[in-house]
């Protein structure tokens, strides 16, 4: 039950499925270690999600690349040729696109767009400036837009 839920979160922050599973396992380890601090009166999923996002951020700090040059041109179009309508794009393809972003772009995009954090909060979490956060989000969106256009043509 929590495996699928957890993977649905960590897949957004990882380069691959294996890396997502690694982040999820690290998250489970934190859950096991800190289960005493969980408040029974509150729902479990938000607490679990928070742990997984923090774990993903830790993972980002540990493995992030620092050269921000984006080699979008090198990405091959790996999407299936089935659905061509924007709203009909499969989630697998969305995840594949997100995973092709660099870790810095991907993490900022996920925290801002998917999780809904503000740039100030993201900057604090990732130990970067607000300007860098905004810039990374803009570039992430540009890259995703380009990927979408390439996929739909």
């Amino acid at each position: 039950m929590f495996y699928a839920y957890g993977m649905s979160i960590t897949l957004y922050y990882a380069d691959s499925r294996d890396e997502a599973a690694e982040i999820l396992n690290d998250g489970f380890m934190k859950v096991f270690s800190n289960i005493k601090s969980f408040d029974d009166s509150k729902p479990f999923k938000p607490w679990f999600r928070r742990i997984l996002i923090n774990t993903a951020i830790d993972h980002y700090h540990k493995h992030k690349k620092h050269k921000q040059a984006e080699h979008f041109e090198l990405y091959e179009n790996q999407f299936s040729s089935g659905e061509k309508i924007l709203s009909g794009i499969a989630y697998k393809e969305i995840i594949a696109m997100i995973q092709q972003l660099s870790p810095a772009y991907r993490t900022v995009f996920n925290l801002c767009v998917v999780e809904g954090y503000k740039h100030k909060e993201v900057a604090k979490m990732l130990d970067i400036s607000v300007g860098t956060s905004k810039s990374n989000l803009h570039k992430a969106k540009q890259n995703l837009q380009a990927m979408l256009e390439k996929n739909l043509t």
């Binding site: 495996y3 699928a4 839920y5 993977m7 649905s8 979160i9 897949l11 957004y12 599973a21 690694e22 999820l24 396992n25 690290d26 489970f28 380890m29 096991f32 270690s33 700090h61 540990k62 493995h63 992030k64 690349k65 620092h66 050269k67 924007l86 709203s87 794009i89 989630y91 969305i94 997100i98 995009f109 767009v113 998917v114 969106k141 995703l144 837009q145």
Partner: protein, 423 residues
């Protein structure tokens, strides 16, 4: 503008997670990996528990040694008081005898300054003072007095000193009395030195030395040596200045503290081992480390700052270069094995514009590096008493092989401050 915002919302919504649409199949290998992590964590917890038990046992041992030492000293002090009381009792009738009998004073004076070959104060045969004074005490002698009398009657002939002075010498010979003196009456090579006995005239010192030399009596000192084990244990601490690649570019100092145990092979040579927990901080420029590819996705950082917590397990050979009375200068050579408990790094990457981006790595690596560093030191040791001693020992460690996840060649220097206890 509104159209643009609407487009953005539509775009963002596309990527917003909706787990209900996710069809994620469970994979057995993910569980196996989690199981491995759980096993590793269990092993770490067991290791920490063991460390806790060892620490508790060490504290218990040190407490027991401290208590036994304190108890021993208390008993020695008690014995001292008893001896002093006995001596006071012993001297009192002699003084009264001297006052009561004028001739006795002359006779006693004659004993101290007279011909050693003709006076035998302990026998009491030729002296009125002895008959009036000492023999009166001997009417009801205590056990200690009996022992003193036996000793006096068998060893004083030929020395020409009185009982109190002989008692002083006897005390010096006994190991228990060594601790009461400011200086050990025996020289470092085990020979008796009356020069170290306070409150004794030079002529008497010479007489004592001659007597003990004739008797060949270094038994007291040998007796002390026999009672002391060849083993000693100690605690030590040092500030730690570490660097990578050479003796320069030091980071803020770390520290190290630990315990060791030493075994004395002979008068000058001893071996020791132990364990010390060290916090090591250092800087390294490009080329000072050899990072594995997984650590930075194949990108080599331009600079690195490290802070590692490690266990240092040295195996040392020590040689006492110069021996003085109650102190010595020694040299030590050692080989150290490191176990990395925790490694934390900050990597710096410079871009083409000159600005630096940093990221950190922090992990409990637990890697071990056998005989990774060689150490040399020169130190000074001072004996606080027959069992306790303190040491100051500046040292330098040079790398024999790379250590840590970043494979650095670590130089360290500092100065140990140690307290040792001879078992």
């Amino acid at each position: 503008m509104t159209e643009n915002n609407s487009h953005n919302d539509q775009f963002d919504d596309l990527f917003r997670r909706n787990e209900d649409h996710m069809d994620i199949q469970y994979q057995e290998e993910d569980w196996l990996k989690l199981e491995e992590k759980l096993d590793r964590q269990e092993a770490k917890l067991a290791y920490r528990r063991r460390l806790g038990y060892i620490a508790a046992a060490a504290i218990l041992l040190i407490s027991a040694i401290g208590y036994l030492t304190f108890d021993n000293y208390s008993r020695l002090n008690q014995l001292d008081r008893l001896m002093e009381e006995q001596m006071t009792l012993n001297d009192r009738p002699t003084d009264s005898g001297r006052q009561e009998t004028p001739g006795a004073a002359d006779s006693t004076e004659n004993e101290f300054g007279g011909d050693p070959g003709t006076t035998k104060p302990a026998s009491g045969q030729d002296s009125t003072a002895d008959q009036d004074g000492l023999n009166r005490v001997e009417e009801e002698p205590s056990d200690i007095e009996k022992a003193q009398q036996r000793q006096t009657s068998t060893t004083t002939p030929g020395i020409g000193i009185d009982k109190a002075e002989f008692k002083l010498v006897a005390d010096c010979i006994e190991c228990s009395a060594v601790d009461r003196l400011d200086r050990d009456p025996y020289t470092i090579d085990g020979r008796f030195s009356s020069a170290n006995i306070p409150n004794l005239q030079d002529s008497k010192k010479d007489a004592i030395s001659a007597y003990l030399f004739e008797k060949g009596d270094i038994s007291g000192h040998n007796h002390l040596s026999d009672r002391l084990s060849r083993f000693s244990i100690g605690i030590k601490a040092t500030p730690d200045l570490s660097t990578v690649g050479g003796l320069s570019n030091f980071q803020s100092p770390g520290y190290s503290f630990g315990v060791d145990i030493a075994y004395k092979i002979n008068e000058r040579l001893s071996v020791s081992t132990g364990v010390a927990r060290s916090v090591v901080r250092y800087n390294a420029g490009e080329g000072g480390y050899d990072m594995p590819g997984y650590l930075a996705d194949g990108m080599i950082p331009d600079q690195m700052t490290g802070e590692c917590i490690l266990l240092d397990i040295p195996l040392s050979l020590r040689y006492d270069v110069l021996n003085f009375s109650g102190s010595r200068i020694f040299a030590t050579g050692s080989l150290s094995s490191y176990i990395m408990l925790n490694e934390a790094y900050r990597f710096g990457y410079e871009d083409s514009y000159g600005s630096t981006t940093e990221y950190s790595y922090d992990d409990r690596t637990g890697t071990s590096h056998l005989m990774s560093n060689a150490g040399i030191s020169i130190g000074y040791e001072h004996d606080l008493n027959s069992r306790f001693s303190v040491r100051i020992e500046p040292h330098l460690k040079i790398p024999l092989r790379q250590v840590g996840v970043t494979n650095v060649r670590l130089f360290s220097m500092g100065s140990f401050f140690s307290l040792s206890y001879n078992l």
